[in-house]
């Protein structure tokens, strides 16, 4: 038998406690920018989407790397071709997803009259810029977490998703604030 619930709990507990603490910290950053965000609600409603897509793409990449490492078709090498291919596809998927969702969010927002004079092109550009930065960060974090945990004889499946989504949630908010100038 490969899995045991005790091992899942033993590895999961400290990491998840740390992730929860960092998420509470991300909540504090959000709280600090709350007043500015309430004035431009189109960005406020974009936050779960920005973070969600970033976390999802990072988790998919991590799950794929973990399976590849377990089975052996991905090597523990920073120059591994399969790994590069997975990374570039993640970036491509990210760009398409953010563009499509930006357009959908924009039309939902203009329907509820909360665009506040922000143009479609400007909005798509901001989301795409935040999204691309975020995908790069989560992908690199995902690769390092998968490789490092596997190298140390741990199961990457236990580590990648929590690390990636937590960093994705924090960095997504920070990148958005930087780009729209919330101090």
């Amino acid at each position: 038998m490969i899995y045991s619930w005790k091992r899942i709990v033993r590895y999961g507990l400290p990491l998840l406690t740390l992730c929860v603490l960092i998420e509470l910290f991300a909540g504090q950053i959000l709280q600090s920018g709350q007043n500015t965000l309430l004035k431009i609600p189109i960005y406020l409603i974009s936050i779960p989407v920005i973070n969600g897509v970033g976390g999802n793409i990072g988790s998919i990449l991590g799950a794929r790397l973990a399976s590849g490492l377990h089975v052996g078709y991905i090597n523990l090498d920073i120059r591994d071709k399969k790994m590069h291919e997975n990374f570039l596809t993640s970036l491509l998927i990210g760009i398409i997803t953010y563009t499509v969702l930006a357009i959908i969010i924009y039309y939902i927002a203009s329907f509820s009259r909360i665009t506040m004079g922000i143009g479609l092109i400007e909005f798509v550009f901001v989301l795409l810029a935040v999204g691309s930065l975020l995908i790069c960060v989560v992908s690199v974090v995902s690769i390092f977490t998968a490789f490092l945990s596997f190298k140390r004889g741990k199961d990457p499946d236990d580590f990648v998703a929590p690390v990636v989504t937590t960093i994705g949630d924090t960095m997504g908010i920070i990148f958005l604030f930087l780009l729209i100038g919330v101090a």
């Binding site: 507990l13 509470l24 969600g52 999802n56 089975v71 596809t89 959908i104 949630d169």
Partner: protein
């Protein structure tokens, strides 16, 4: 070709999940009264959502690896490997929920200068965490089974699907448990 398969299986799902994020965010909008009545509640929401997402996606990710390793498939699902994963996820949900309740109580006092009822907070997190944990575990098994049957790569599907369903179910569980605790305590 891995890239093409990844693009084809994940892209539509990712866009759908993005829209699910908007739904989960909107649930918060109808909770404003509860948030005002229960100090400290807003502090625990991102933490419970993060816990739920992390436990479910690691569960899904491990089942994906198990599938690739050939120790689990649609004909051989209900085995000891799956049971160990289920027990592990549920025990984690229980323990992390208690941790969140305690952390939220401390954070509310230190940063927000409010004094919430610690028992109330811990009970809300515990009920929401365990209820959403059970629902998500069942959902994971259903999704994994459907993915196996269709011959898709579970790695491309389970993460986003569970994260999105997780967010929505968790928000509803917090909403429900906050009402229950508010009535009882």
């Amino acid at each position: 070709m891995f890239a093409k398969e990844l693009l084809k299986q994940s892209l539509p799902l990712l866009i759908l999940c993005g829209l699910g994020g908007v739904v989960a965010g909107s649930t918060l909008g109808v909770m404003t009264d509860l948030l005002e009545n229960i100090p400290g509640l807003i502090v625990i929401i991102p933490a419970i959502i993060a816990m739920r997402g992390n436990i479910s996606t690691t569960f899904g990710s491990r089942l994906g690896s198990a599938y690739h390793l050939g120790i689990i498939n649609s004909d051989n699902m209900w085995n000891e490997e799956l049971k160990q994963n289920i027990i592990g996820s549920l025990v984690l949900s229980f323990l992390i929920s208690i941790t969140i309740g305690i952390l939220a109580y401390i954070i509310a006092i230190v940063f927000f200068d409010i004094n919430p009822n610690p028992l109330k907070l811990i009970f809300i997190v515990l009920i929401a965490g365990v209820v959403s944990g059970v629902i998500l575990t069942v959902l994971t098994i259903v999704i994994i089974y459907a993915v196996f049957k269709r011959g898709y790569d579970p790695d491309n599907i389970t993460g986003p699907a569970l994260a999105t369903f997780g967010d929505i179910i968790t928000m509803l569980s917090i909403f429900g448990s906050a009402i229950i605790v508010e009535v009882i305590l």
